[in-house]
């Protein structure tokens, strides 16, 4: 079996997790693209940790309002029925369990549910921003990542080696190979994305993977 990185299947699969009314925070980068794949008829509410409920699409060029930006500092619009608040309130919403899903990027994620995504000591220290509060506070923590590093190593680990963003907070990991639940100290492969096979995924992952008895093969193309 040959592996070709495919970010599309990751965001497509995550976008199908939500139900109407869910409050969702999408991290910068890959997670942001999830919003483009939410099925028609499903109305989610996007929270932006810099102080907004009801994040809308980017404005047309020339229509930017620089008082309205997302957590990456890019201009955004507001959905009808959205509202603004200060950062203490915003993280009160996050920490208080009022955000249903947070979707984050990954440097490493391990079978205990630990996530490392904010720091490579000595190399890259951007700071945790809101990621630690989001992983601690959101009801369901979804990690989105290509299954393999450019070097070919699996990003799903037995044990993270980088400084942690969150300890034992990860619920789901969606890669371009499949959807994994974190459970009892291992990854449970609940869905395997075609054309890969559960056995191949298990073999290529440098962590303890249990193939769920009802593991489905899903085609997301």
């Amino acid at each position: 079996m040959e592996y070709a990185p495919n970010k599309d299947v990751i965001v497509k699969r995550i976008a199908r997790i939500f139900h109407s009314g869910d409050v969702v925070n999408l991290g910068i980068g890959l997670p942001t693209q999830v919003v483009n794949h939410v099925p028609e008829g499903v109305v989610i509410i996007l929270q932006s940790e810099n102080g907004l409920m009801g994040l809308g699409p980017a404005p047309e060029k020339g229509c930017e309002d620089w008082d309205n930006v997302n957590a990456g500092g890019s201009p955004i619009t507001v959905q009808p029925g959205g509202c603004f608040f200060d950062s203490a309130t915003s993280f009160g919403i996050i920490r208080g369990g009022h955000v249903d899903y947070t979707v984050l990027g990954v440097l490493e994620v391990d079978q205990e549910g630990n996530l490392a995504n904010y720091k490579v000591p000595g190399k890259m220290v951007p700071g945790m921003g809101g990621a630690m509060d989001l992983t601690t506070g959101a009801r369901t923590v979804i990690c989105s990542t290509l299954h393999f590093e450019p070097s070919g190593k699996s990003r799903l680990k037995r044990r993270c080696t980088l400084p942690l963003t969150a300890a034992k907070e990860v619920d789901l990991v969606v890669t371009d190979l499949g959807l994994f639940q974190v459970k009892d100290g291992h990854f449970v492969l609940a869905e395997c994305f075609a054309p890969y096979t559960p056995e191949w995924v298990k073999e290529k992952t440098d962590a303890d993977v249990v193939i769920a008895p009802d593991c489905k093969i899903v085609n997301l193309d």
């Binding site: 950062s87 630690m132 942690l164």
Partner: protein, 228 residues
């Protein structure tokens, strides 16, 4: 209601002393007091301890700088307390070179620590950071079976905040996501200087829509520079 002095950005900058602790509102430059920041840059500031959610942007390739990033580039800070410095390459360079001390704080914890200082709380228990480097050196308390970090208040000598509208008494209304850290910072500093795009007469703001009550604001500055 008494009116607050409306001063120039230069006069405001004079009130920010070398060596002080400074809070600056704004998120990646959005909602920062750009006029005062430029006056601080012109004045030259030394040895200041900055508290800010981030250090805005500085791109080494394009040379583009925004918000409080202008003062980072000028080496105004001996210490920076922030949640995110990823879009300011100069902050990272200074940190890695050991030129500037950088303390990274989770963004929600930072907001709450500033609020705690302004609200007279001695600290608060948060689950954020448990099991990470953030817990190092901090007291852990278990409440009803869950571990929490005890986080302490964070205050400053001076805060510069940015509002959309102020009245002459000092009541402030923010716009959109430019609100961010400004309201908490306005409560947590000995001296609060508010830059506003528009300054109206006392009585013109709807008392139900004021975000920062007038009593927190010491001086007003009319915004002249709006770009990030």
């Amino acid at each position: 209601m008494l009116e607050k002095p409306i001063i120039t950005a230069q006069e405001a900058a004079e009130k920010v002393k070398d060596g002080c602790t400074l809070m600056s509102g704004g998120f990646m430059g959005c909602g920062a007091a750009h006029t005062i920041i430029q006056a601080l840059k012109a004045k030259g500031l030394k040895d200041v301890s900055l508290i800010s959610t981030d250090t805005a942007m500085h791109d080494l390739k394009t040379g583009k700088v925004t918000g409080i990033g202008h003062l980072v580039v000028d080496r105004c800070f001996r210490k920076i307390t922030a949640s995110h410095i990823g879009l300011n390459q100069e902050t990272q360079r200074q940190m890695n070179a050991g030129e500037t001390e950088v303390e990274l704080v989770p963004q929600g914890t930072l907001a709450e620590r500033i609020r705690a200082a302004g609200n007279g709380l001695g600290g608060f228990l948060t689950p954020t950071g448990i099991g990470t480097e953030v817990q190092e050196g901090k007291q852990i308390l278990n409440v009803n079976g869950r571990d929490y970090l005890l986080e302490l208040p964070l205050k400053a000598d001076v805060a510069i905040v940015k509002a959309k509208k102020a009245d002459k008494a000092g009541n402030l209304i923010y716009a959109g996501t430019a609100r961010n850290f400004n309201p908490m910072m306005a409560t947590a500093a000995d001296l609060v200087i508010a830059e506003a795009e528009e300054i109206v007469e006392v009585g013109e703001l709807d008392p139900n829509h004021v975000h920062t009550p007038s009593i927190f604001v010491d001086f007003l500055v009319k915004a002249e520079r709006l770009e990030m």
